[in-house]
């Protein structure tokens, strides 16, 4: 017996998922002194990867999810790449591969700058570590690069991206939150 699945317009669903993403990041992490928090996800068929990072303004170090996150936060982060995947297919859009959300908390409201891209970095022979570094450099610059060896790869990826625009950009204003 089939359920009556909703097909929600892209912008509507995007708004909901962006809000959900900020809500759970904000619940799990202390974002009170941070300018930007970045959520990143990748989906290749059934293989999903997710992560977050931000720069601690006082210590000037990057805090990220590389060494693991609590399981509940992990499930919520993983949920989003699947929700976005469904959002694309429900709206008959070509699938994305990477999603990067920049939650900008520097103003009076939280603004999410969302980029979906379909760069097939695997096919282009870049490993996950380089991919991870590429998105980090794109957002916070190369001074936070953990492994300097990846910089050559990152530069190649930047060149490729400059020559092939395979991105979609959206901006979503995140709803204000109040304790309930």
């Amino acid at each position: 017996m089939n359920m009556k699945f909703r097909k929600v317009p892209f912008e509507e669903r995007l708004h909901e998922e962006i809000n959900d993403t900020f809500r759970f990041l904000n619940t799990s992490l202390d974002l009170s002194d941070i300018g930007h928090i970045f959520y990143w996800g990748q989906v290749y068929g059934n293989s999903k990867s997710v992560g977050y990072w931000y720069v601690d303004e006082t210590t000037k170090i990057i805090v990220d999810s590389v060494n693991g996150v609590n399981y509940i936060l992990f499930r919520r982060m993983i949920a989003e790449v699947s929700m976005f995947k469904k959002m694309f297919s429900d709206n008959n859009m070509k699938p994305y591969i990477q999603v990067l959300i920049d939650f900008d908390m520097t103003g009076s409201q939280v603004i999410a700058n969302v980029t979906f891209d379909s760069y097939d970095w695997r096919k282009l022979d870049f490993d996950l570590e380089s991919v991870w570094d590429y998105y980090r450099v794109e957002t916070v610059g190369s001074e936070y690069l953990k492994n300097g060896d990846n910089l050559a790869d990152v530069n190649k990826m930047q060149e490729y991206a400059a020559e092939h625009d395979e991105t979609l950009h959206y901006q979503v204003v995140v709803d204000d939150f109040r304790s309930n």
Binding site: M1, N2, M3, K4, F5, R6, K7, V8, P9, E12, E16, R23, F24, N26, T27, L31, S32, Y71, I72, R75, R76, I78, A79, E80, V81, S82, M83, K85, K86, S89, D90, N91, M105, S108, Q109, V110, D176, F177, R178, S179, N180
Partner: protein, 182 residues
């Protein structure tokens, strides 16, 4: 100015409402009479399931592994784990199963919630037969499909001689979405 990073107040009621919202995001719940949700945290495995009952008693089952449904399963799983985390913080016992029946009034949604503490796999019952037990309790024999009534009867006997469930009701405003057209 509102605090941008003010955190929402997480409570059991918040999660129960959120579980409904997750289901309502995926399917149009307005055509159903009742919706049942089962969350299992037993034998180290989590599992989520829900069923929708139409007026003529037709039942639809949520298939976790189907394309497009994984995100919903992940969100539901996170919610039930978070509920137990909340209970731990309050020095209250964690549940193994949560079974919620949502019914729809005009303005309100009523959630009847039952928490139990049976680790079915640990007690030798097959995971595959677990949903049957909860569905037959709620709806009767005709919805038992997997292991049959014999297994349900064994589980019922076990439940009767062990720790009672915790049950409560929660009511919240019906903020159903309008159906969208793409």
């Amino acid at each position: 100015m509102k605090d941008k990073t003010a955190k929402p107040n997480l409570t059991m009621e918040y999660e129960i409402k959120d579980i409904y919202k997750i289901i309502d995001d995926l399917i149009d719940t307005s055509i159903y009479q009742r919706i049942f949700f089962l969350g299992e945290i037993s034998g180290g495995i989590t599992s989520t399931d829900f069923w929708c009952i139409e007026e003529d008693d037709k039942i639809s089952d949520f298939v976790t592994y189907e394309e497009g449904n994984e995100g919903t399963d992940d969100k539901l799983t996170a919610d039930i784990l978070e509920m137990n985390q909340f209970l731990t913080q309050k020095n209250m016992k964690n549940f193994n199963q949560i079974f919620i029946e949502y019914t729809f009034q005009k303005e309100e949604i009523v959630a009847n919630v039952a928490l139990d503490y049976f680790d079915w796999p640990e007690e030798g019952f097959a995971m595959y037969g677990v949903p049957d037990y909860y569905l037959s309790k709620a709806l009767g024999e005709k919805y038992v499909t997997n292991f049959g009534m014999e297994n349900v009867e064994k589980m019922t006997k076990y439940a009767e001689s062990h720790e009672a469930e915790t049950a409560f009701n929660y009511q919240f405003k019906n903020e159903r979405k309008d159906e969208y057209e793409i």
